[in-house]
């Protein structure tokens, strides 16, 4: 086939592309409904009375039961739980970004023999499920008074958030042009200032993304929080939410507001920064 006819063929095929595009749009419209409907539905159901939920689970409430929210908030101690979650996540976030970018800088930019080995060592952390260290950590922490203590959650959260942070930040640091570092060096910049005043500000995007990912991941963590904390006043949000379900009776009219309260912060953060999260995340993964 000659190039001319091929070009003609591409032109001809243009109207055909349109039908397939329409089909793609229809498919994704259905998918969007499949993804958004459950969340809207939680919102609707959370405003119904219990008999309404049982009789007509997919219908609209006749009278909006706003007091469901205050019931759930008080019964589940969701306010305390949210503060606990916030404390744990913010502290973890801060230290993850600090330690993570420090190591990433050492691994990505500095020259030493064992940098490859150190990276391997850290990346193993990505493969190890947290379940495997659950029991030894629990036993150890109980010995030093870190059980039933929010700091006992922060330490493992921090450790398990670090690999992703180091991984993504190493990629960002490696992308900084050499000339910048050289000129900093000529101007008499120390290594600490090169890191703190040149490389860190240049990798803002990376910091932002890893920060968001770390925060969201720990905000949702259930297993460790469930095992390590047994005081009601120290429970984190996911644990507090699961408490609404018991084997014998489930308070649906309290459970739905609780679910919404638990996921609303993530939804807000996500809708504000979804493009950055999604792009930054893939950037980290692709570069590896």
């Amino acid at each position: 086939m000659t190039a001319v006819t091929a070009k003609a063929k591409i032109k001809e095929s243009k109207p055909k592309v349109k039908t397939s595009t329409v089909l793609i749009y229809i498919l994704f419209a259905i998918l969007v409904v499949l993804y958004i409907a459950p969340i809207v539905w939680i919102g609707i159901t959370s405003l119904k009375t219990r008999p309404e939920i049982y009789k007509d689970p997919f219908g609209l409430p006749t009278v909006l039961q706003w007091e469901n929210y205050s019931f759930a908030w008080n019964a589940g101690k969701l306010g305390t739980a949210m503060l606990n979650s916030l404390f744990v996540c913010v502290v973890t976030l801060f230290f993850t970004m600090m330690f993570g970018s420090m190591s990433a800088f050492a691994i990505g930019r500095m020259k030493w023999k064992l940098s490859g080995a150190a990276m391997m060592y850290i990346l193993i952390g990505m493969m190890i499920p947290v379940h495997c260290v659950l029991i030894p950590l629990f036993v150890r922490f109980a010995g030093v008074g870190l059980d039933n203590n929010l700091w006992g959650l922060i330490l493992p959260y921090l450790t398990f958030s670090l690999p992703t942070c180091v991984y993504i930040m190493t990629g960002f640091f490696r992308n900084i042009p050499n000339e910048l570092l050289e000129s900093a060096c000529i101007d008499g910049c120390s290594i600490y200032r090169t890191f703190g005043s040149i490389c860190l500000p240049l990798s803002r995007t990376g910091l932002f993304v890893t920060g968001l990912m770390t925060f969201i991941g720990n905000w949702n963590e259930l297993l460790l929080a469930m095992v390590f904390i047994h005081d009601d006043t120290r429970k984190t949000l996911p644990v507090a939410v699961t408490k609404f379900v018991s084997p014998y009776q489930t308070n649906y009219e309290k459970m739905f507001p609780a679910i919404l309260i638990a996921i609303i912060p993530s939804i807000i953060v996500y809708s504000l920064f979804s493009n950055q999260i999604v792009d930054g995340l893939t950037q980290g993964a692709v570069k590896g």
């Binding site: 086939m1 190039a3 091929a6 793609i24 994704f28 998918l31 969007v32 993804y35 939680i42 049982y54 689970p57 997919f58 330690f99 420090m102 190591s103 800088f105 050492a106 500095m110 020259k111 030493w112 060592y121 952390g125 493969m127 190890i128 499920p129 379940h131 495997c132 260290v133 659950l134 029991i135 030894p136 950590l137 629990f138 036993v139 150890r140 330490l155 921090l158 450790t159 670090l162 050289e182 290594i191 949702n220 259930l222 297993l223 469930m226 996911p238 939410v241 699961t242 084997p247 609780a258 679910i259 638990a262 996921i263 939804i267 996500y270 999260i277 999604v278 893939t282 993964a285 692709v286």
Partner: protein, 299 residues
């Protein structure tokens, strides 16, 4: 410059916090876990007595262990296959459209950032035996199955339900990875193939697929490890029912043997399950990387 980047004190200072944490919170506990798995834990005296491989031989005779292995492997295979198919399909279709691409992408990725525990409660209600989806089915005259209560079959219905919920929640992640890889492919490759008379399907099959093969490996290892770690959804959807209805996976089995009020504190036994879990994680990552290992093409 060279001297600056070889500053030993700085390297030690930069690496120390991370390495100390990794050793204290990860390496030492894993080693301890291996040791515990060879021990019997006495609740009263809080002492560990070395009993060799007894925990493992007990494990091999425990029917619940085999059920958890079966269910965990089911989740592993299901999530790897389904996420590959749907993630790739969505990614391939989405890269073909321009308007609204980001909106669709972000919507499908959204559940990944939400709490599985909370979403699990929602789905548990949707698949409730009496309310939820069955009310809709009853409306059109179909008697719905018991969903989360049905325990017939080799892979029970609840496992399928949860596997699909997991697919719903996490397919966005695979889709994102594939999309990033596909949009990195040089457009001229496609143009050349169209000039040679290739159809879109053929171009996908002979250009896109081979070029994203390394990413398939990455995404699949993430899926595999994620599905072996699977705990939140199962716990929140089934709660304590896992025991009676034989719907354990390794993670819930471990949690129950170690910490649940009914299972008791069999730390040694639970550690043995943990060791099996690590082994499965490493083996599956290794196998997947072996299968999808390719030399990187120039793109």
């Amino acid at each position: 410059m060279e001297k600056l980047l070889k500053n030993k004190t700085a390297i030690i200072l930069f690496m120390a916090p991370t390495l100390i944490l990794f050793t204290a919170i990860l390496l030492v506990p894993i080693a301890t876990s291996f040791y515990y798995s060879l021990c019997d834990y006495d609740k009263a005296t809080r002492a560990y007595s070395f009993i060799g491989f007894d925990n493992f031989s007990k494990l091999l005779k425990d029917p619940i262990f085999w059920i958890s292995i079966k269910n965990s492997l089911f989740f592993l295979v299901f999530s790897c296959v389904s996420q590959l198919i749907f993630g790739l399909l969505y990614a391939a279709l989405l890269t073909n459209i321009k308007k609204g691409r980001n909106f669709f992408k972000n919507t499908i990725y959204m559940p990944c950032v939400l709490s599985s525990a909370a979403l699990g409660l929602l789905w548990a209600f949707v698949f409730h035996a009496k309310v939820g989806i069955n009310t809709l089915l009853a409306g059109i005259g179909i008697k719905g199955p018991g969903w989360l209560y049905d325990i017939k079959g080799f892979i029970t219905l609840p496992m399928w339900v949860i596997a699909f919920v997991a697919l719903w929640q996490y397919v966005g992640q695979s889709m994102m990875l594939y999309m990033a890889q596909i949009s990195g492919i040089n457009k001229s490759l496609y143009e050349a193939s169209y000039i040679d008379g290739a159809t879109k399907t053929k171009a996908f099959w002979y250009i896109t697929l081979p070029l994203i093969k390394p990413m398939v490996g990455t995404a699949m290892s993430l899926n595999a490890i994620g599905s072996l770690k699977f705990f939140d959804l199962i716990y929140s959807m089934l709660g304590d029912k896992t025991t009676n209805l034989k719907m354990d996976v390794l993670a819930t089995f471990l949690y129950r043997s170690g910490f649940s009020s009914k299972g008791g504190n069999h730390y040694g036994y639970a550690s043995a399950i943990g060791v099996v879990l690590v082994a499965l994680c490493l083996i599956s990552t290794f196998v997947i990387n072996k299968v999808f290992k390719t030399e990187n093409y120039e793109m």
